[in-house]
Symmetry: C2
Subunit: 440 residues, 2 copies
Amino acid sequence: MESGQRVTMDREPNRLSLVESAEAIRAGKLTSQRLVRACLDRIEAREGSIKAWASVDPENVLRQAHACDSGKASGALRGVPVGIKDVLNTFDHPTQMGSPIYSGHQTRNDASCVALLRAAGAIILGKTITCEFAGTFPNVTANPLALERTPGGSSSGSAAAVADFMTPLAVGTQTGGSVLRPASFCGLVGFKPTYGTFNREGLKFAAESIDTIGLIARSVEDVSCVTSVLTGRHDYVGTPLDHSPRIAVCKTHLWPLAQSETQECLDLSAAKARAAGANIVEIDLPDYFPELTAARGIINDVERARSLAWEWAHHREQLSETLQKTMVSGFAIDDADYCSALALVARARADIASILKPFDIVLAPCVNGEAPVGLHYAGDPSFQALWTLLHLPSITIPAHRGPNRMPVGLQLVAGAGHDDKLLAVGLWMQQVAKIGLDAR
Amino acid sequence: MESGQRVTMDREPNRLSLVESAEAIRAGKLTSQRLVRACLDRIEAREGSIKAWASVDPENVLRQAHACDSGKASGALRGVPVGIKDVLNTFDHPTQMGSPIYSGHQTRNDASCVALLRAAGAIILGKTITCEFAGTFPNVTANPLALERTPGGSSSGSAAAVADFMTPLAVGTQTGGSVLRPASFCGLVGFKPTYGTFNREGLKFAAESIDTIGLIARSVEDVSCVTSVLTGRHDYVGTPLDHSPRIAVCKTHLWPLAQSETQECLDLSAAKARAAGANIVEIDLPDYFPELTAARGIINDVERARSLAWEWAHHREQLSETLQKTMVSGFAIDDADYCSALALVARARADIASILKPFDIVLAPCVNGEAPVGLHYAGDPSFQALWTLLHLPSITIPAHRGPNRMPVGLQLVAGAGHDDKLLAVGLWMQQVAKIGLDAR
């Protein structure tokens, strides 16, 4: 009981990581009820300032925790609470998608990832606030590290809830940079696996050919654990690398967007990795890769317009002006141009596979810089969106601080399907380069 | 008015093709009310034997047709009825997915393709019966050409309704062969575009990485017209080929499954195409392609299991034994084997792109043979599933008859993204090789 007492005495349970929580519950050192109560208490104390949650149902949560403690649940995540971005279906919570069109909207079923989390014993704490339809129009969530700053988007509530110790982990989605950017802005780990890794049944699509479900947590171990659950693979990370990490540093053609803190973050992290034994090579991307920015815009707008065709027909006036503009653009784009954009991206996906072959991972800038001031703008997705478009797995780790002491994330990227390698190097890089979250 | 009178006098309106119907309405020679009434009358007369519909709402349909005739609708499909497979959301019809779990289930919105069809003026006639969750467990639908035979599946109702002149066109989905096989068994044109062409928002997934929305109609012109609507491309087929079609004949490693009528269908169609001026070359597929059959099985089972995780947790006993077996298999497959299967398929997709480059299209067997007797088995998807797995666009045209005078389809396949070319050659092939439907 000693280490359990230490765990539960030293820190409030809501400050434990997901893996720590699951282990403490499994070992009988912590009850699910105590854990979720601590999370609910934190939410009650802080939600007025943070606004991370679209829906929380304390009674339901406590009932599930009680059932869990009574031995009615099993699985790797037994009794551990998680948050779910409000664009994923949940049979016992509304799914409101950050839009008044879906106010109070209740689905019959759970999204695949939600059902799989529950099957592993997790307790759905609630739905986390999203930008309108996982797009760019921000919602009300504040950054827990500095309330006047954006938490990033579109998985705004997922990041804010995890950063504020309301939940150890939340599920998000990324079409441009909606998992990694908020994770970076809030000093967290954000993981977007290879496109298609987490089944998307029950997800409201933004741009179908790039939408990817991802995870936000406070450690690489936590996202690895949930990746194991969602894929059914016992140990997703598997054995550590048997060689020094082979790392490509890639500033990308977007480098001029990088503020000084992002430049420092990449340079310092590469230096730390080299000092820790990694082989580091700087690489450039093919000459035509800057064209991917425009191609991404076309794909994004066309697919968003088509996905929201019903909302456009019936509730146009309830869409934000921002989204209306995207949809007008999407419907106006010639389908032949859309097909050309898809073809260019297909070519880039094939080329990047060859380029990345000699390396375990790529180190790249994750964000322009610190979270900007103001809640009216969720930040620039450019640095995240490039790799999302290529369907590659990516992870961010908080690795630096900007001029305002706000965190700046580093981005690690691997070849498609090499999520296990990405997480393995991510664990290594977390030890080498991670900065700590300030205690709050 | 003369040609309009001819159209409406010679044939009952429900026997017109979709393009003919739309033109007659646009020209003022036919009203939407008269057209949908003819379709509803046909349904009333024949539905007892055919069982193609999961839901029809005559009052709602007639109200929409009246609004259309009063000038309240516009668009390329103004006033034309279509059927929607019952795995696609419709805000004004239940979406029951061929499963008692979703009995009476009503969604808040339309699927993307449904909303886009309505925006083009189409009237949703109703929901067509599907095999359980678009899988292999058959529903109650009979083949209109021979009631004791299967219409194929899983888009059983879509094919039966079109073959029986209840609707000119119906939307289906294909994960293995669920559009082309029922189209072939019912003597129809079935078109599955390149993976991702028709937006899947609002579709209940079967196996997400291969699920494709497609169309069943009585002519290539009709599926081309609706492809234009769903992609927003004014004329999807565009200009006809400026050269003799370059056609590869590919029997595939599955050829031993082909019954004599399918062998004859391919040989005769190739001979007709050659006589009509096409360049024909027989090709083989790479040696490892037979391994795709097992890879497809793995992908199908794993993804189906994950997609139905909520139904598995809450309503297992309401799933058919067939589907339960698939899900047990899917959950038991090692994720690493699933990833290997995906990698093999990715390799095959890259290889097939090079192989198909010198050709406009491939001619391939579509089905094992005629629709089998009995409604307990919806037929073998092998010949369709190979190309679906490769994400290639495919179309079937009724081109032969078997020993029981039942139709046998020919399959045309093109490279990914070359749907326009496929439809252009499909039109040509329809003239060269199509057999007529018996008047019923």
